[in-house]
């Protein structure tokens, strides 16, 4: 070998040995130490994450550096709130945890509404926030906030990672806590130096949490007591909530109704747990529930609450709620039992397991008369509205969406009148098909949620039923739907008002419509165009159905249907806040 050849050989060897690729390969294999940022990505792979939602920023660059070639898909929102609601929609539609990342400071605080929304509705989320370097924490560093402090009361649990060796364990625990028991959001705050420091990656097989052991099996004695109460009841009613859907107990619930013949009403979040098209369904109860659901609850002698929490929008005035009823309450969260309403037979555990046990034991009560009575109220006091030929009634739009989709669409909503009409006039027959912010009542939820839902369910058409107020709260997310060619249909029930507040002002505040008129509005059709969506304005009743049909034909981009509906239509029936069924407002007072 000549000198020249040897030099070239040495040069190549030198380059190879000290190239980054070789070094990282060498270190990976021999020491098995990887960066914290890589540990995060590897852990998410172990958790079979399919989608991650988020927005980058300074202290999370190391994590984004690894996300660049992660095998799961990353959905970049245009605002962190959009990312977390999308993850929430994904979680509600799929039953899997939603995964989110945002940077420190404002990135993290922009997640707050989304975390609280998920917390109130028991949605499993794992939320990563960036944090300034551990050495800087507490120094009021650039983009520093105490996010574990801020999220403590609105998350199921949270972590500040203080040592990279804890990182994998914390992620494992976060997924476990988020998805088990009563699910909820878990926040992991990751300082930037933790992302950059290295440690061996070992993803734990199991979690060791001595302070967290959810109860799944109901107490057999309590179950027997409940079955006996059911058997001897004369006027029973089932009150099913979101817990039934979360636990996947909808089939057991249907079985229970079939076996006992007991009428069933659901909460807003329980819709879809039982087919609303069935004669025994009383549909939704509560403030804007059906009169017959509230009638049945008020006159019952036994309420079987399953995965519901007696929220104030359901009970109205607590002291006069179901005055003659005994109450069986099945819930996985012991703190929900006897919190608002004193319960006679509490059964703590998983709805599905408990219903399975009950089905073995329960006997049908003799309630033909009661069922007949409820059925009669159902025919005398139906959900109704005054349809008109020269106006588009918002309820009419919802009914047509129901018809044109054969009830097979998945509906997300914003918050307000349109949300209640979507609840009342679309009939839900399957679980996870009505996706709405129930507990927190978050305007701006529906559009980003619809993005997450459409990703989880590419086989279904997804409608965001919106108001002209709510839709403007996260409208920037339209571009995300357009970018991913998601054919989400945004149906705006445009009445030029913040309608629900206006309704309260009309009914209870001397019609002083203080700051609720928003008819100085953007042109939603032009806006659709600007965002690469298909837009239509519908001002004639005759155009409602053709517009919906046209929207259903489009499959490669989002669609905005701007329905100009009756401006001062109200949501009825209405049990005013803190009142009882006797105070129900059935329809417009002339």
């Amino acid at each position: 070998m000549g000198i020249a050849k040897l030099k070239i050989f040495l040069a190549i060897t030198y380059i190879f040995l000290f190239s980054d690729k070789f070094l990282s390969y060498f270190f990976r294999r021999s020491l098995l130490k990887i960066k914290g940022s890589q540990i995060i990505v590897e852990s998410l792979i172990k958790e079979n994450v399919e989608y991650m939602f988020g927005y980058p920023g300074g202290v999370v660059i190391p994590i984004f550096h690894e996300l660049y070639h992660a095998p799961f898909k990353f959905i970049l929102s245009r605002h962190e709130q959009g990312a977390i609601h999308a993850a929430d929609g994904y979680a509600r539609a799929s039953g899997k945890p939603g995964v989110v990342i945002a940077t420190s400071g404002p990135g993290a605080t922009n997640l707050i509404t989304g975390i609280a929304t998920a917390h109130m509705d028991s949605v499993p989320l794992v939320v990563f926030t960036g944090q300034v370097s551990t050495a800087l924490i507490g120094n009021d560093a650039f983009q520093e906030v105490d996010i574990t402090g801020i999220t403590r009361p609105i998350s199921k649990h949270n972590y500040l990672v203080q040592d990279v060796k804890d990182l994998a364990r914390i992620i494992k625990e976060a997924f476990y806590i988020a998805t088990t028991g009563r699910p909820g959001p878990v926040v992991i705050d990751v300082p930037v130096d933790i992302s950059n420091s290295v440690h061996k990656f070992e993803y734990p097989e199991e979690v060791q949490l001595r302070g967290y052991k959810p109860t799944y099996d109901g107490h057999p004695i309590q179950i027997s007591k409940a079955c006996k109460l059911i058997e001897s009841s004369k006027r029973p009613v089932i009150y099913a909530g979101g817990g039934v859907i979360i636990s996947g107990a909808h089939e057991e619930l249907r079985e229970l109704v079939k076996k006992t013949g007991i009428p069933i009403t659901t909460t807003l979040l329980g819709m879809g747990a039982y087919p609303e098209t069935d004669p025994l369904s009383l549909e939704m109860l509560g403030m804007h529930g059906t009169y017959f659901a509230n009638y049945a609850i008020h006159h019952s002698d036994l309420i079987i609450a399953i995965g519901a929490r007696f929220d104030d929008r359901v009970t109205g005035k607590v002291s006069e709620f179901a005055p003659n009823a005994k109450i069986i309450h099945i819930d996985i969260d012991p703190a929900s039992v006897s919190k608002n309403i004193q319960v006679d037979v509490p059964i703590v555990g998983d709805c599905k397991r408990i219903l399975r046990e009950m089905l073995k034991e329960v006997k049908a009560p003799d309630i033909a008369e009661w069922v007949e009575e409820v059925r009669r109220v159902k025919t005398t006091h139906p959900l109704q509205y005054e349809d008109k030929e020269n106006e588009i009634k918002p309820q009419y739009v919802i009914e047509q969406i129901f018809k044109e989709t054969d009830g097979k669409a998945i509906i997300t909503t914003e918050v307000g009148q349109h949300q209640m009409w979507a609840a009342q006039f679309y009939k839900y027959t399957e679980p996870r098909t009505f996706i709405s912010s129930g507990g927190l009542g978050t305007m701006g939820f529906g559009l980003p949620a619809a993005i997450g839902v459409q990703l989880a369910r590419p086989d279904r058409r997804v409608f965001d039923i919106a108001g002209d107020g709510s839709i403007q709260m996260n409208i920037q997310e339209l571009i995300v739907a357009a970018q991913h060619r998601l054919p989400v249909i945004v149906a705006i029930l445009n009445n030029g008002f913040l309608g629900m507040v206006r309704q309260w002002q009309q009914l209870f505040w001397e019609k002083r419509y203080s700051h609720t008129c928003i008819n100085f509005a953007p042109d939603f059709v032009k806006l659709a165009d600007a965002y690469g969506c298909y837009g239509m304005r519908i001002t004639e009743k005759a155009d409602v159905v053709p517009a919906i049909r046209k929207a259903l034909e489009i499959t490669d981009r989002p669609i905005i249907l701007d329905f100009h509906v009756s401006r001062e239509e109200n949501v009825y029936p209405m049990v005013p806040a803190g009142k009882t069924i006797k105070d129900t407002i059935m329809r417009e007072l002339a």
Binding site: P153, K156, Q162, I177, G211, D333, P334, S338, K339
Partner: protein, 160 residues
Amino acid sequence: MSQHVISVKVENKFGVLARVAGLFSARGYNIDSLSVSRTEHDDISVMTIVVRGDDRIIEQVKKQLNKLIDVIKVSDHSEQPAIHRELALVKVNCPAAKRGEILQIGELFSAEVADVSLKSITFAVKGDSEKIDRFIELTTPYGIKESMRTGIVSILKERE
């Protein structure tokens, strides 16, 4: 409204005190006293919380505490035989002429004389809350310059 002594075993971790304290403030429960300390296990701390409320509230307090991931065990020491102790430091005005009188009160309560000056005596008195209340009551006429209490710590009695 009754007073309950709730003993909470928690993970000895960053932020646990804030979680517990935050729970009380967020839900509007009234804490009379709260003491936090280490236990025989390095990784477990104990919080003794004295809280006031009707049965429904106390029930909720216990359930909500149990819901916290870092809470290992919640026990209501008002429902079982337990020993409660707290410590108070009480600085009583004490001109020389009154010294004998005041020291006598201290003796009756087995209070330790922690400090003496020309104008005051500082006692360290321990016992259950009732005893300390009484001690403070009896020294008040002399003028208490400053007083503070640790809050209760509580342990269950052993029964064979």
